[in-house]
Structures are given as C-alpha cells and as structure tokens.
C-alpha cells in the first residue's frame, strides 16, 4: 500500500491539450457555423435589413395585421361573410382528402419496403441465408428512402406537376413520396430494434424468409408503425397547404391567389380554415392512436 505524501506533489503536472473528441469538434464547428450564418444574414443585400429592429418594421407589422383583420378597408371582411366560408369550405375538404391520400400512399410504400431496409433482416442476423443479392436490396431500399426524403415536398410537387394533370393527385403524390422515405426509415428502425428471439424461433419451425417477415416481424412492428403514421399525418396536414401553392388543389392555391390580389381578409379566412384542419387532425389522430394501444 502506497502512502500519500503531499510534499511529493508540489510540482504542477505538465499542461496537456484537451482531447479533440468528435463531440467537441462538432460543437466548435457548430459555433463557427452559427456565427458565420448570422453575419451573412444580417449583412445580406437589401438595405431594409439594417433597420430591422426599428420603428419602421414595427409599423409595417402593425399595418399588415390591420390589413389581415380588414381594419379600415371598405366592405365587410371575407371572414365575416357566411358565403365566403361556404365557398372556401370545400377547399378545406379537398386539403383534408389530399392529406389522407398522401399518408395512405406513404404507408403503403413503407409497408412494402420497410422490412427490406432493416439491417438485421437483410445482413444475415435473422436471415442465415443472406446473400449478396439481399445486401444489394438493402442498400437500394435505404437509398430510395434517403433520396425521397431529402427532396422537400414542394420540390417534388414542382416536378410531379409536369407529369400529372393538376388536381388533388399531384399534391398527394408529392406529399406521399416524401413521407414514404421518412416512414420507411422510421419503420426499418423499428424492425432493427425488435427482439430477435421469437423471430429466430419462428425460423426454426421451418418458415421461409418471407413468412418470417410476415408472421414474425410485421405483427410486432405494426403498433409502433401506426404511431408513426399518425405523427406523419399531423405533419402532412400542415404541409398540404404549401403543396397547394404549386399543385392547383386545396387551400394552398386559393391562398396564393389571394396573396397576389392582396385580398387580406380572405387570407385570414383561409388561415382560420387551416387552423381548424390542423386542430381537427391533431385531435382525431390522438383519439385513433389510442385505439392502436
């Protein structure tokens, strides 16, 4: 047993550089990025920028708000007219339909492919008969997920509108495609987190690879899949209005038109419909989620 002698410790240890860990490096990089971004934003073109925190900006906000509420404008504001409510109501309905279609497309796509995007299914853990073909499938499926979710819904819509005629479908497909990648990745991660043992036991009863997927993986993954499905639906209803900007369907198109014509009170009306939709979907989703236990 060594003794502790204070007199031996009077000399300070040599200075050592802190270890450059990945996290520290990342934080420093983030800090640099933050500073650079703000410098860029605050100095960008547009002299308007320098006086952002000024009375002028405040007044502009105030005037805009007044316009939205129809203060000082002639005629009754759109949101106070029942006929306006009715005529825009069917747009809200269309947007809702678009959202349901979109989440349906995304769910179907994800359900078909998600098991092929799970590392443990494809790379030999559960599947002792793994082969290069299946590895290729895995990377291909994962690649599809990455690409479809990297491209924002709006850009998908811009591309799709070339191929599909205007209406609800292009918007729904754009939303569906983007969310297919997101749902797919989330679902694959569910599979990767599953308990392997029941699945391996199933394999020993002689079930084939696909049967193991259908019988062993799918039932266990479905409850969480449904949770993710509802979560994405809530996001989709918020994005459906945006996709309408380009795809001639739902509230978004009308929103864009009203913006061009400066029909401010109509914008308010549309925003209120939008908030009603969002709230409705959130409530419905939370209720239905409970059914899935």
């Amino acid at each position: 047993m060594t003794t502790f002698d204070r007199t031996q410790h009077t000399q300070a240890p040599a200075m050592r550089w802190p270890r450059i860990t990945f996290i520290r490096f990342s934080l420093l990089a983030m800090l640099a990025l933050i500073v650079a971004s703000w410098i860029f934003v605050l100095n960008a073109d547009g002299a308007q920028n320098h006086s952002f925190l000024s009375a002028e900006t405040f007044n502009r906000f105030k005037d805009f708000l007044a316009d939205l509420l129809g203060v000082g404008a002639s005629g009754t504001p759109a949101y106070a007219q029942w006929s306006e409510w009715r005529s825009t109501g069917h747009l809200a309905y269309d947007t809702l339909v678009m959202s349901v279609m979109a989440i349906g497309f995304a769910a179907i796509f994800a359900l078909v492919f998600f098991m092929f995007g799970a590392r443990n299914m494809m790379m030999g853990d559960i599947a002792p008969y793994g082969s290069w073909f299946w590895r290729g499938v895995f990377f291909f499926v994962r690649g599809i997920f990455v690409v479809t979710r990297a491209i924002p819904e709006l850009i998908w819509a811009m591309l799709i509108i070339f191929v599909l005629s205007p209406g609800l479908l292009p918007g729904a497909v754009a939303l569906g495609l983007h969310n297919a990648g997101i749902l797919g990745k989330l679902s694959s991660e569910i599979v990767e987190g599953l308990d392997q043992r029941p699945i391996q036991a199933l394999r020993s009863t002689g079930a084939g690879r696909f049967q193991v997927m259908v019988y062993g993986v799918l039932p266990q993954a479905l409850p969480r899949f449904v949770t993710y499905l509802f979560y994405r639906w809530e996001v989709i209803i918020r994005t459906a209005i945006v996709v309408g900007f380009v795809s001639a369907g739902g509230l978004g198109t009308e929103f864009r038109l009203s913006m061009s014509y400066f029909h401010f009170t109509t914008i308010t009306l549309l925003l209120v419909w939008y908030l009603i939709l969002v709230l409705g979907v959130d409530i419905t989703a939370s209720y239905l989620r409970r059914l899935a236990r």
């Binding site: 029941p198 036991a201 199933l202 009863t205 002689g206 019988y215 799918l218 479905l222």
Partner: protein, 266 residues
C-alpha cells in the same frame, strides 16, 4: 397423439429410424473452443438431458444439433441424413424442432396463430398472409392446444400469457410442426418449481407418446434425474460423463459443477 397430418411419401420419416449421431464434432469460435471433438450417439425415442455449468457447451451443442450452427469439424446426422447437406431450412425443420427458455412466441399474435406457425413451412406465402387475419387450418392448432391443456386461451395475445402458458403454447407449436427429434434449451428454467415440473412432464409425455427423441439441456439436476433416462455432463466443451440417470453419482455432479478450473464465459 400420432402424426397430426399426412405428408408426402418422400418426406415421410418414421420415428423408429430417427437416431441422432455426432461424429468427431467440434465447434470453434476463433481461438475459443466451444465444443471439443466428441462422438455421440442417441437412439430413436431416447430421453437425454445435458447437464453442466453455464458456458459449458450445452446450448452450443443443441444449436449444432438443430442446424442453427455449422460444425467446425465432424458431421451431425439426424435420421441417417447429414444435417449439413440439407438444402433448405424447411427440410431441417421436418427433422428437428426446438423450444427455448422463453421468447419463442410472437407476442402480438394469438396463441392459436403462434401454434399454427408450426405449419408455416408447408404453407404458401398467400396462405400465410391470409392466416394473419383469419387463421387457416384451425382444427390442428386447437387440438394441439387442447393436448397441452390451454385451449381456453387460444385467442389471447401470446404476450399476455403467463410463463407456463407460453411454454405450453410453444410445445403445441412443436406438435403442429411434428419434427422427429425434439430439442429443448432449458425449457423450464424460467418457471417456478411447480409449473416447471408440470410442463416438463407434459413435454416428456408428448415425446413418449409419439416415440420421438427428446434432447434437453437442463438447469435443474433434480428435474433432469426425474424425467430423463440418460444424462450427459458437459463442462468446458467436453463430455464428462454419459450415463443412465440412475448411475450418476453425487461426486460426478460435484466435479461437473465445480467452480475451480471452470472456463469463464465469454
């Protein structure tokens, strides 16, 4: 309960011809020798228990017998067929079936669906898909569950069943799968003593009825002695003794489980 269903003639095995033999079988994981070269021969219809400390090779040996692991050297023969030459998992599953300590069942599916899964090897993909929603060939499943005494919970979620019930359902699945050799990896270690005895009795009874070979790794020496006719002691990957159960002495067991000289688990 004899064969629950008929099979095509070329795959029909009679239980009487199904012996198990291991010839110079060993298993290595890199440097570690999980199983040292051994020879073993088990006749059809025998009831054998592997005993020994954890990490001694019981589970590895069972997995070699089930075809889940490949041998490093030697061959495993079931029913006069070399296991490594069998092309599909399905053919292997007609020869040998395994039940584990726990987590054999899919928790979200009902007991009946889990039981019927024993037939998956014979069903087409379409049939399997339909069966998820509406179970096909229910009768086999229900009678298997009745044989193990739990037909009342046939439609309950497997995850909500007690440990004893779950093991019974796993045995029912084995009945439906109908392999020639039954392997059991510590089948009752997670159950309390009373249940353990019941379930083990059920397992042994079923194997006897059908004349099938039963090979189990056992944690409890008393239960092993009570229900199995032949005991094999495994320690550090080697067979320490291989005797009829009444010939195994306390000294042998003491040597088997002695902590000194025991290889540490990896």
């Amino acid at each position: 309960m004899a064969l629950l269903r008929t099979r095509e003639p070329e795959t029909l095995y009679s239980a009487a011809s199904c012996s198990v033999s291991l010839a110079a079988v060993s298993k290595q994981y890199g440097v570690k020798e999980a199983i040292l070269p051994l020879n073993l021969s088990i006749d059809a219809g025998e009831r054998v228990a592997f005993l020994g400390p954890s990490g001694g090779g019981k589970t590895t040996l069972l997995r070699l017998l089930s075809g889940q692991l490949e041998t490093s050297t030697g061959t495993v023969c079931l029913c006069d067929r070399d296991l490594s030459t069998m092309p599909t998992g399905r053919q292997v599953s007609q020869l040998v079936g395994m039940i584990h300590q726990q987590f054999d069942l899919i928790p979200n599916l009902s007991a009946l669906q889990n039981t019927l899964a024993g037939q998956l090897g014979e069903w087409s993909l379409i049939k399997s898909l339909v069966s998820l929603v509406w179970p096909m060939n229910r009768d086999i499943g229900l009678s298997a569950l009745a044989r193990v005494g739990v037909e009342g919970i046939a439609y309950q979620r497997a995850g909500s069943l007690s440990g004893g019930e779950q093991q019974r359902v796993a045995i029912a699945r084995l009945l439906v799968q109908d392999p020639q050799v039954i392997l059991a990896d510590e089948p009752v270690s997670s159950l309390d003593p009373a249940r353990a005895g019941e379930v083990l009795q059920l397992l042994v009874g079923i194997a006897e009825e059908a004349g099938k070979t039963l090979i189990a790794s056992m944690h409890s020496v008393e239960l092993a002695r009570e229900h199995f006719s032949r005991l094999i002691g495994l320690r550090n990957g080697a067979v320490i003794f291989d005797l009829p159960s009444h010939e195994v002495t306390e000294d042998m067991l003491h040597d088997l489980y002695n902590l000194q000289g025991l290889r540490s688990e990896t």
